[in-house]
Symmetry: C2
Subunit: 522 residues, 2 copies
């Protein structure tokens, strides 16, 4: 299973390019298996197969695509402890987390399976003809969402399963009817290979056209860049750094035919704790927040990196609870050496900033990341926006505002975020409303309670947000609406049932909810 | 009414920049009124007002936005013959066309008014909490579409009303809750001014926040470029040339915060006439196509510029009817001198191409455009893709294929289009299906009968298509779904009714169709 060769449709690539290994996250030692970077020919073959598979895959009944997604989930589950062990070794994430992430990954696949089996997600719209209309007869027009074509998905280092080979991007693209080419993340090549095998076996067992799925390895950036530039590729899904996402978006915009890039890039997830909430439940909020900051060693996209409060409120119980819980958190192994180094350097920059005081900075021996707690003021943040940049790891920055106006001002100054949280009590509601009116232009998800980490996967979740949280703030990369990213509206005019997709045929053979002459039916 | 000064919210700009005049399309003579290019300060003021107006305008009840759109329509209708005369003079379009376009413009405004008054377009989704769920309690999450922020709309030369100051882009953006800044097209400044006055009066009469609408004049490109680069602007709508749309998309992608550009750029709208259809109704198809080619002097975005047929079929009745109807069409005044010159030069290039024979080329005296009919082969087209470029005007190119495979091959070779039409008879259905399976990846609207010109405005129409037909092939710029372009998904988690927009409140006060726990209700 760890032969280390890319999957090109139903074939394994020849060995060829530079080789690399998976690393034990905790020690940096080589793990079993040698992985072979894909060649330009491999990229071409994967893209060509995906392009050839597209029309047949697109036109399959939703039942078949749903069954395919369910088989992928079952195959992943069947990998059992083999997958868990490899993912744990490559990422340093603990067993419970990997098992939870595996369950989430399979849950996502089944969520999309259910959607495509039911079918109404295609937003079918029908307006009937009226040949008697004057001055001109009215034609029959019918539209629905159709898949874009082959999609490239980049695996994410911080979610080896749920945002990687068969993660949300892959699941939603396959559900939409788009073939997928995954560029495996080089930090978990063994995990990627196991999951790719599960996907390929599922495709085979449903006799799907070769090329609905490929997965390419690469030690460097060449394969990913070549995939984004390939004329047959029609969209890109990515979860990673701001620099990486920005580079892909740029490459896609510079193509002769530009294509959409859905890059989830960076977020500091501000948490506002208003005076009433601090008075009412400050200590409880502090402990809960500490758990959110340190969850997954602070390596969640939704890790709360900023905490804003009014310095005229009673912050003490909150801050004491936060600080003592952070002090008690055991430093955990970080995902890889690059992330560990980056965390220490960002944390040191924060600690060394003249406007920042260090409240807590745990040691981070070996490959582990210890928590950090820092304090500054709104004034300092407004003077240096760099203070609110992402520190990827278990660190958070307390920001003291001088009254409600400074709270609103710092909210207005913020860049796009995945989430923004506002804790208030009854007495805080007016300020909370003003704040949320600003924050809804800054974030994809607004929380009125709880913590931003721990993402519900359902039809109403939004995991997205204005730039630079993502490269396309109109969308979500998690939940049912993620499927919309890989589709476009297509209209059929004056085509009889013989030429129409089943979703648009007059008798409604798929029994969908449709908008007929402007009125929802079913 | 033709004071010639830009509208900055409820104020008129000071005179300042370069001045220009509207021109009589038929003669090039100056029309009454001197128009003043907006200054950088005007751009800044319009953007700032739009940004300030946004939160209040966004949060207005749909009833109020609907009433605003209806008042705009009524105010435009009240302009009556004054508007018709000015638009006719500036564009050379005949009275019936201007009156028809005015009716369509007002119809579009009322379509969006009806949508926002009813309200379900926001795609409200609710998933209820389950505090008892294990291992973790389930939060309450609710999402809906929210407006992006200030939108810049560029007026189109070929639709002085329906795609300009209060056209589809403006109507859909205002309906979504986005303030709009229009950059008036310099070829119909008087028309733009009259319509802008109607919009501003409507905003005043509903006491809307100043800045929900502004309109800026410019003789050059500076104002448009500055608007697209302005940090407060969040999206762009444009109808025009491929060069213009590409430049705007590039400028928007290079912003520190990139924003979406919806540019409708160019299309040659291929029409395939299959053997059975030619045998069954060749002459009728030929006459109908000629009328479509010459409609609006060939200046519709959906003008059919390519006709593909199998040379082994009986093309003669079709071709004779097409050619004689084109020969009988009177050359009409083109929109402006630039478009006229460009048409003659593109037509001459086609006629001079070694692989093309000229079947008909009417004279184009003065500012008028006479029809052109040219013939070539699939082989020539595959050897030189330039042959299928847009010739903006009443010209079309007959392309002879050697059998069905060449028909499919030329379809595969095409760039993105707004429309693609396939005429077939019962005997053609297998080929028609294969062809449409290809063409759905190439066009936004597929016709199985009729002609591509004459666009229905309803909930199922798609006026869009893959690049270079538009810069964002996922969307439509006409019809109800156009509103989606100016929105993003936002999720509220664990927020009580006090913090939720009415569309997401538990009691469903707006009585919307919503997706509740994954099931459609209402």
């Amino acid at each position: 299973m760890l032969s280390g060769l890319s999957y090109i449709g139903y074939q394994r690539a020849a060995s060829g390019g530079a080789t690399f290994t998976g690393k034990q996250a905790s020690t940096g030692a080589d793990l079993p298996g040698t992985f072979h970077s894909a060649s330009p020919d491999d990229v071409e073959a994967a893209a060509r197969l995906a392009g050839q598979a597209f029309p047949a895959f697109r036109d399959l009944p939703g039942q078949v695509r749903g069954a395919f997604l369910r088989t992928i989930a079952a195959n992943i589950e069947a990998l059992g402890q083999t997958l868990t062990d490899r993912a744990m070794a490559e990422t340093g994430l603990p067993e419970a987390r990997i098992k939870g992430e595996t369950a989430r990954t399979c849950g996502q696949l089944r969520l999309f399976a259910g959607m495509v089996e039911e079918g109404s997600w295609v937003d079918a719209r029908i307006d009937h003809a009226d040949p008697a209309r004057t001055p001109l007869p009215k034609p029959d027009t019918r539209s629905m969402l159709r898949p874009l074509g082959p999609v490239v998905v980049f695996g994410a280092s911080n979610f080896p399963l749920a945002y990687s080979t068969a993660g949300g991007d892959t699941a939603s693209a396959l559900a939409a009817g788009c073939p997928v080419i995954v560029k495996a993340h080089a930090a978990h090549p063994g995990t990627a290979g196991l999951v790719a095998g599960a996907v390929v076996e599922a495709a085979r067992s449903h006799n799907l056209p070769e090329g609905v799925f490929s997965m390419l390895y690469d030690a460097g950036l060449e394969v990913g860049t070549a995939l984004v530039r390939h004329p047959l590729v029609q969209a890109v899904g990515f979860t990673g750094s701001r620099a990486g996402g920005t580079a892909l978006a740029k490459a896609a915009a510079e193509r002769p035919q530009p294509i959409p890039v859905y890059a989830e890039m960076s977020s500091v997830n501000p948490v506002f704790v208003l005076s009433g909430a601090l008075a009412e439940r400050g200590a409880a909020l502090g402990s809960a927040l500490a758990a959110s900051v340190t969850a997954g060693v602070g390596q969640f996209c939704t890790c709360p990196g900023l905490v804003i409060y009014d310095r005229n409120s009673d912050i003490q119980p909150f801050q004491e609870a936060l600080q003592s819980a952070l002090a008690a958190a055991l430093p955990g192994t970080m995902l890889n050496a690059g992330i560990h180094t980056n965390y220490l350097s960002k944390r040191a920059a924060l600690a060394g900033h003249e406007g920042v005081s260090t409240l807590l900075e745990l040691e981070s021996p070996g490959s582990s990341g210890g928590a950090g707690l820092y304090a500054t003021t709104v004034k300092a943040v407004l003077a240096d926006a760099g203070l609110t940049g992402e520190v990827f790891g278990p660190a958070t920055l307390l920001i003291a505002a001088n009254g409600p106006n400074e709270i609103l001002e710092v909210a207005r100054s913020m860049e796009g975020q995945l989430t923004a949280t506002v804790h208030g009590a009854a007495s805080d509601v007016p300020l909370q409303k003003d704040l949320m009116a600003i924050l809804e232009t800054k974030a994809g998800r607004l929380l009125g309670a709880g913590v931003p980490t721990g993402l519900e996967v359902n039809q109403s979740i939004v995991h997205g947000g204005p730039w630079p949280a993502t490269s396309d703030g109109r969308t979500t990369s998690v939940g049912g609406a993620a499927i919309l990213r890989f589709t476009r509206h297509v209209c059929w005019q004056d085509c009889g049932d013989a030429l129409l997709p089943p979703a648009l045929q007059e008798s409604n053979p798929l029994k969908l909810s449709r908008l007929v002459n402007g009125v929802r039916q079913g």
